[in-house]
Each structure stands twice: as structure tokens, then as C-alpha cells.
Assembly symmetry: C2
Homo-oligomer: 587 residues x 2
Amino acid sequence: MSEKHKHESAVFVLAAVGLALITILTGWKLKQLKYRLINEPGVALFYGMLLGLIATFLPPDQAEHMGNMGNMSLNSTPHMVTVNVTTNDHCPRHMEKETFDTEVLFNLFLPPIIFHGAYTLHQKRFLDNLGSIATFAFLGTIISCATIGACIYGFTRLMVMLGRAADGDFFLTDCLLFGAIMSATDPVSVLGLLSELHVDLELHTLLFGESVLNDAVAIVLTHAITSYSQMGVGHTFDPPTFFLSLGYFLGVLAGSFLLGFVFTVITALLTKFTRLYESPLLETSVFFLLSWSSFLLAEACGLSGIVAVLFCGLSQARYTIHNLSSAGKTRTKQLFEVFNFLGEIFIFSYMGYVLLTFPHHVFKALFISGTFLSVFISRALHIYPLSFLLNLGRTTKIPCSFQHFMMFSGLRGVVAFSLAVRDTSTEVRRTILTTTLLLVGFTIWALGMATEPMLRCLDIRVGVDADENPEELSLEVATGSSDTTPDLWSRLDYKYIKPALTHCGPPLTDSLPQWCGIFARLFSSPYVHKDEEQLCETAPAQDDIICDLEKTEDPPVCEAGDSGSDHQEDLLEGDLGLGNAPALREA
Amino acid sequence: MSEKHKHESAVFVLAAVGLALITILTGWKLKQLKYRLINEPGVALFYGMLLGLIATFLPPDQAEHMGNMGNMSLNSTPHMVTVNVTTNDHCPRHMEKETFDTEVLFNLFLPPIIFHGAYTLHQKRFLDNLGSIATFAFLGTIISCATIGACIYGFTRLMVMLGRAADGDFFLTDCLLFGAIMSATDPVSVLGLLSELHVDLELHTLLFGESVLNDAVAIVLTHAITSYSQMGVGHTFDPPTFFLSLGYFLGVLAGSFLLGFVFTVITALLTKFTRLYESPLLETSVFFLLSWSSFLLAEACGLSGIVAVLFCGLSQARYTIHNLSSAGKTRTKQLFEVFNFLGEIFIFSYMGYVLLTFPHHVFKALFISGTFLSVFISRALHIYPLSFLLNLGRTTKIPCSFQHFMMFSGLRGVVAFSLAVRDTSTEVRRTILTTTLLLVGFTIWALGMATEPMLRCLDIRVGVDADENPEELSLEVATGSSDTTPDLWSRLDYKYIKPALTHCGPPLTDSLPQWCGIFARLFSSPYVHKDEEQLCETAPAQDDIICDLEKTEDPPVCEAGDSGSDHQEDLLEGDLGLGNAPALREA
């Protein structure tokens, strides 16, 4: 590579790193001043736009050059030096201006962010509310996609009538695609604030769980719709193709899920049957590389890497973590924390930068206003009816205040942007990108700032401490009581999966039938046979205690609670995790 | 990017990650089996070659494709997906085959490795032996460069005589360039083993210090020679150009040094005067980004980023670390540990891969054998005479056994490779690359394996524990004794730099003259004035205690020793760090 390009590249990476530094310091200063209204993502977005503004006001030659360097600040790590260098070296610049290096966003920053999101979900509360969360995430996203798609289609018709758009500019598939993109709510922006305010834990779990899972649905949905429109049936409704895409949707979702789980199984068995825990560094490296592989293999297989890494994170947190040494646990958690933190900052500042420097923005006032409107309509149609239905099943209802807050806190962020920016070839896609960016900016700032006042006026309790939360305690009590009927999955998980993958639970030799004795002996914890008494009790009632593999050579012992990472679990999903566990104390 | 390329890229990144995983597990298994002869770098090299072998035996189309993907496995992180994708998308393949993405090696993996090396140097022992280390690193590298250059030049003449090379194939400048490249000894490969064997601490410090510092000299020397030959004076000796390059050499070295230090000052002041230590995550992120910026800015300014980040690491470990919270210290150390560990594995496996897949290898038997010979001659001319000279000044002589071991343990590794692979345009450079790869492979394996037997037959004590090392203790004692005459630099450092950058040392208000009172008040620790008694004593004699900023809101207190990271310092360089400190206990 030429020295000139190298120098240029270094300068731009430096600018990005500087941006990140300023963002961190500003965000931290704001926290110091107890000014919680805006958090890192907002600040990053702001500084990104500032840099973009500067870039646009540079003399044309530099500006055009900065335009070429656009994708540079996307990931702001030195390898982008290479990326641009490689392109700049060999390729005419105009080529480059069309392309965004969004793959980097997908490949380098998104996986750790998504993994961290899933990995840090509070297992116990997540499982208690699994039913509700899944309903919101899966059914909700599809509802919201359909609603937004329909509304936007209506608006585009209106635009055609008003002569603001030619007939055939926007097809229903485009609108649905946009709907899918817009349905991905962001787990990072508002939730940092929520956990900082120690908002009610159940609300937190519902919101976090929903926004983490619905990313998966939105991503796969986007792929499905794209593949539908690429199957050459034009933009008319064609049942066979529709069902084909539906199959594709389900197939990719299931495949990615499975793949994520397979890598968890590999990691869990590796950490269970080797003495890797003697070196936290190796533990962490293996854990990190294997989790990442789930993403890579999924991409290589044409599945969704993000979805795979999401489910991998969920299952790693449920199983593998129990096999790690306490030092390894902390190390792993902290490693992903740093990646997540820096990744978010880089992506959000890049969003701001793109918003002001993307050379092919297409602003369609009607389309934009239509989007803002339809996003809120869809959110309402998504939250209220589903909450109503869920409340029929839940013993602890989702209160109206929660519903209002969830309705309001549907921020859009990283995933929506990365889906929109992936393809900017057609004008429709460019319109979508522009609109998405505006919506992200608006939701991050306006809604983000309004969060705290909103919580106050909805009178949702904040400053809740996990340990003091009566509901939480009641759950512990409830799980403690043995007069419960764990559902099939929990039994399966408790009796077979957990003992096979961790050192916890009843020895497989007991739970498995005679005829698979070899399998049982093969997968039982190497310690089980040594000193039975040290291990978890076999009664489901006490499965609430969790396994913590201390960094000693001794066989792992089970302890009640894990100070390091608060991963707990219970069997109480009599309502399939619809969240009536607390009620059992009345029972 | 097209789905096809994305898929291909993911596959190759996956292969690289898999390679890293196998390497980690093999290396760890070997340790388990107490088979210490070969460590991670060697294993990584082996597996890299294995992959290369597979690649070469693939059907031509795939092989050629794998050739294009060559640079893929260099860094084995998903962003390379983009790199290749970007190139593959727009550029004819043949272009790519010429280029290696060594910039990624330089920009992404080398900085953390070098930084980690410098950051984890044992401050106290390093400073005790600073004089000797500097002599070996600076003078030694220049000697070795000259010797190798001369020998190789002789050999190339011989080759011309024997008709194995045309006259004018190899100029003296080429030979000197090769000499510079070959002079970079590798800090990672043998030293991992040494610290594992707990070899004598002074030997360890000498070797580690030398190999860390001489990378800097070798890198800058290489640049200087390249710039000399590019100044269009052809390959004749031209005094003005020579002195210009000499000036360039010194300028770049000093500039990079200064830049690294400037970023340390920024980090230190930031961590000293803000309450960043309240959040270890922010602390670590800021520390990481600023240290990285030193590299980026140096590259942007046309200085040597590696050298800057090296000195940044050295000074960060001396000053900034005292301002970090104990949690922040651990976090930072562990973060760089992971980067260093994975970076090494990726680079060494890439070396192995390149060794077997680089399509333009030039094997010149005479040149190669000449290199092997001259490398050992130069090492001998470098170690023995300098040790002799140093022993005149040192009170604790460098024993012959140490000299023999140092002579023998000049392994070549990452830096030599990255300097050689940087430019493969001419045949001479390709010959250099091929020879370098062979030498790296040989030294890593043959010498690496011979290390333990060598230590035994030289009867160098292993299994030394830092705390039990009498010499170490004696140093502590010596530093405790106040009848010593610290040299100028140590006084300066102790009285002005340390108090300005950390919470330790005497308040600047005392040490600085009246007329710069404002400066003194500005830079003295915000805590100094609060509770004097809690702070370090102002007597140099007790400066051995170090500052540990606990993660509390209280002003930082000084503690004797720091369990977290064993960073200590002393003033005892009466012989300018030639290492006679221990003798002072006799005094």
C-alpha cells in the first residue's frame, strides 16, 4: 500500500478513536452531573453527526475524499485501514462511493453486542417470563412488520395520488421489507438507562428479552422478504413462493438456533471434561472463539450469524458458564463488556456520520412522516393486544403502566440501521436508509430523553435492588416450595441437558433409562462419582441453587447463588413462563 | 458484497478461528503433559503449515482461490471478510495475489503484542538493568545489523562468483536491510517458556528487555535503510544521504518515543484528575483507546507506530497504572493479555500458512545457509563483546552461562516476519521473505525446543520465585537503605514527573521552585492537600512503596506492594541501571 493512503487511513481511524474517546468522556461526565436523560448512544450519535458536519463543510476535494473514507469510521479499527487501502489501491473511487462496509458492522461489532445482550440476560427472570417475551418477540414482530408494511403501502399510494411518487416506485414487498427493518427494537439504548435507574425488574426483563429476541425475528424476516422478492415472482402475491419464503424463514430461524446451541454444547463439554479452568486465559479464549465460530459457521452455511450468536449467548449463559472457573467467568464477562461498550459507541457514531455524509440520501417528507406515524401505530397494535392476551394467561398481570412504557420505549438502533444500510443500490433502499437513520436518531434522542420523566409520570418504581425485590424473593420462595408441577421442557432440561453439559443436576446414570448406560456414564460429570454429597441435590425443588466451579482442583461444588454472575434458574413455568410463578406462594 | 464471496470469506475466517482453537487446545494439552519443549507459537506455526499444505494440495481452482484468500488467514478476524470482499468485488484477482495484507498485521495484532510486552515488563528489574538492556538493544542491534549485512554481502559476492546470482542482484543496501530485518529478536516465543520455567529473574529481565527494545531499533533501522536506498543515490555510499538517513533514524526513534510518552501523560493526567476510576470499564476503555491512539498518531505522522506504542506501554506501566483502580488494573492487564495471546497465535499460524502457500518463494540455498551462519556470528559478536564491556561497569557481572544462553536464545519471530513480508515486489525482497520465514521456523522450533536442555546444561537456576529470589530481596533492602546517590534521571522522575502524573511522590508544591507555584498547584494530586499523612512518604528511601488507587471514593492511599500487578520502582541506578544495585547492601 502507498504511504499516502496509509497515512490518510491512520488519520481517519484516529479521528474515529478520538470520537469514541470524547463520547466516553462526555457520557461519563453527564453521568457525573447526574444528567441521565441522554446516554452513550445518544452522545455517540451526536459526535458522529458533528464529524459528518465538519466533513461536509470541508473543501470539495477533501470532502469527496472523506466520502470515500466513509466506511472508514464505520468500524474505526485499524483493519479498516486495510479495507480502504485495499479498495483505494486497486479500484476507481466512484465504485467505492456506492458501497458501505456494512459487513464489518455485521461481522465485527454486532456479534459481540448481540452476544453480550443475550449473555447478560438474567436467566431466572428471563425463563419466568419466557412465554410472554417469546410472544412479544415473535408474534409482536410479525404484527409490527405487517402493520408498518400496510401503513407505509397506504402512504406510498397516497404519494402516488399526490404525484409525489411514480406508480411502481414502492411495491408491497418493499413496504413489508421496510416494516421488517423497522420492527427491530434496540436492546442497547434505553436499557442501559433502565438498569442504571434500577427500574422494576420484571419490566426490565420483558423489555430486554423482547428487544434481544425480536432482533433475531426481524433479521430473518428481512432475509425472507428479500428472498421472496428475489424469487422473480415480481411484486404480486404468489402463494407457492410465499410458503417457500415462510419455510425459509422458519428454516433459517430453526437452523441458526440449532447451530448456536451446538456450539454451546461443544463449549460446555470442552469446559466440563477438560481442566481448562486451570487457566482463565485459555478458558476465556476458547469460550470467545467458539461463540464467535457459531456466528461464522452460520454465515458460512447461509444461515443468520446474528441469530446463531444470539441463541449461543443465551445457552452459554445457561450451561457453559457453570463449568467456568470464577476467574474465567469474570474475565469472559468483562471481555464481552468491553467489546460491547466500544462496539456500540463506534456504530452509533458511525450512524451519525452516515446521516450527514451519505451522498445519496433520499428525503421523502410524506414517506418519513408516514413512517413515524406507522411505527407508533404498529407498536400500539403490538403491545396492547398481546399484553391483553398474555394477561389472560398470566397470574401476575402486565400492569397498564408497563404496557404504556413498553409501547413508548420501542427505540430503533443498531440492527435496524445495519439492515437498512446493507443495500443502498436502488432509490427505494436509499429512501429506506434515510428514513431509518432519521427514525433511529429521533427515537434515541427524543424517546431516550423522555424515558425518565415517562417512568415518573407512569409512576413505575425505580431504584429496585434485585436482592430486595419482594417479587424476586417470592420467586425464590416459590421455587423453594416443592408442590409445583414443572413443565416438560424444564424437566427435560433439568434431568438430561443440564447434567450432560454441566456438573449440576442429578447424575445421568440415575435419570437415563438402563439401555443408554454407556451414554450416561460418558456424559456424567467426572466428579459425580467421586463425592456425591458435594453435588447438587437431585430434588428439582432445590435446583434453584446453582453450580459454581471454583478455581480449585477440587471437584466443583454447588453453592446457593453466584455472586460473580447472577445466573439462576428455576423449574417454575407451570404456565409455560407466562410469569405467574409468584402466585404460587399463595398456593 | 455478493453472497458467494461472503460465504467464502466466512469459511476461511472460520478455518483460521478453528486453527487458533486447535492451537490453544494442543498447546494446553502439551503443558498438561508437562511437555514444555514446544509452546503456542511453535504449535501455531505447525498448524499454519498444515493448513498451507492442505491448501497446496487442493484442486488448482480452489488452491488459486485459497491463494487469493491468502491474506484472509493473516488476521483471521471477520473484518478481513470485508477486506477480501472489497478487493474480490472490485478487483481482478491477479492484483491481489501480489499483495499481503501485512498492514493488518502491523495495525491490528502487533500493537497489542508489543504494548503487552512493554506493559508487563517488571518495572523495578527493568530499571535496574536499563543500562545493560539499552546497550544490548541499541548498540547490539546496530552491530548485528552491520555484521549480518556484511556477511550476507560476502555470501552474495560468493554467489556471483559461483554464478548462482547475477552481479547487481544484491546490493550492499539490500544486505544491510536484510541485516536490520534479521536483527529483530522475538520477545514472545522463548520468553513464554522462560517465565513458565521461572528462570533466573535477571536473565529473564535482560532477555525480555532486550528483545522488546530491539524491535524498536530494528524497525526504525529498516525504515532508515529503505529511505536511504529510495533517496536515489543508487547503491553507492553517499555521505550526505547517509547522514540524512542517520538523522532520520534518530529523528523517528526520538519522535516515536516522545509521542508514546505524550499519550501516557494524557492518560495519566486524565486518570489522575478525573474520577474515572469509579468505573473500571470506562478506565479500561480510555486506557486502551489512548494507548492505541499513540500508535495511530505515530503512523499518521510518518513515525513508527510500533515504537510509539512500545514506549507508551513502558511509561503507562510506570505512571498511569498507579492512577487506575485495582479493578481497572486487572481488567486492563487481562484485556491486553487476551489480545496478545490470540494475536500471537494468529500471526504465527499465518507465518506457517504463508511459508507453504506464498506463490513467489525464492529459495537460494547459498543465501539461506549464509543467513543461518551470519545470524549466529552476529549474535555472538553482539552478546559477548557487549557483555564484556558491560561487566566492566556492572557490580553484578553477567555470568558466562547467561551470555551463552543469551547468545543462543536470539529467536526471530513476528517483527522480523512483518518487516520482511511488508514488500514482496522485487525478487530480492521475495528471497528475503523466504529466508526470513525459514529462519523464523528454525529458531522457533529448534532453538525453542533446545531451551530447556540448554538451561539445564548451562546449569542456570530455574523455578525461581520472585518473592523468594534473594537477589530481588536484596534489591528491596538496598532501595530501603538511604545511603545511596540516585542519578539525575531518577531524581527528576521521582521529584517531578511522578508527582505530576500520579498520586505518589512528594507534593510538587515542595519540590518545585517558588516561581512555578501555579504549575505546581495545578498538577499536584487533588488528594495531596486533603490528607497528607495518607500519602507516600517524601523520602526517596521509601519510594519503593507504590501507589494503589483503591476503587473507593476516598483519596488514594499508598500501600507497600501491589498484589494486582507487581509494578515497583526504585531510585537505585547509581550505575545508570547497569545492575549493581544489589552490591549496595555491602555498602
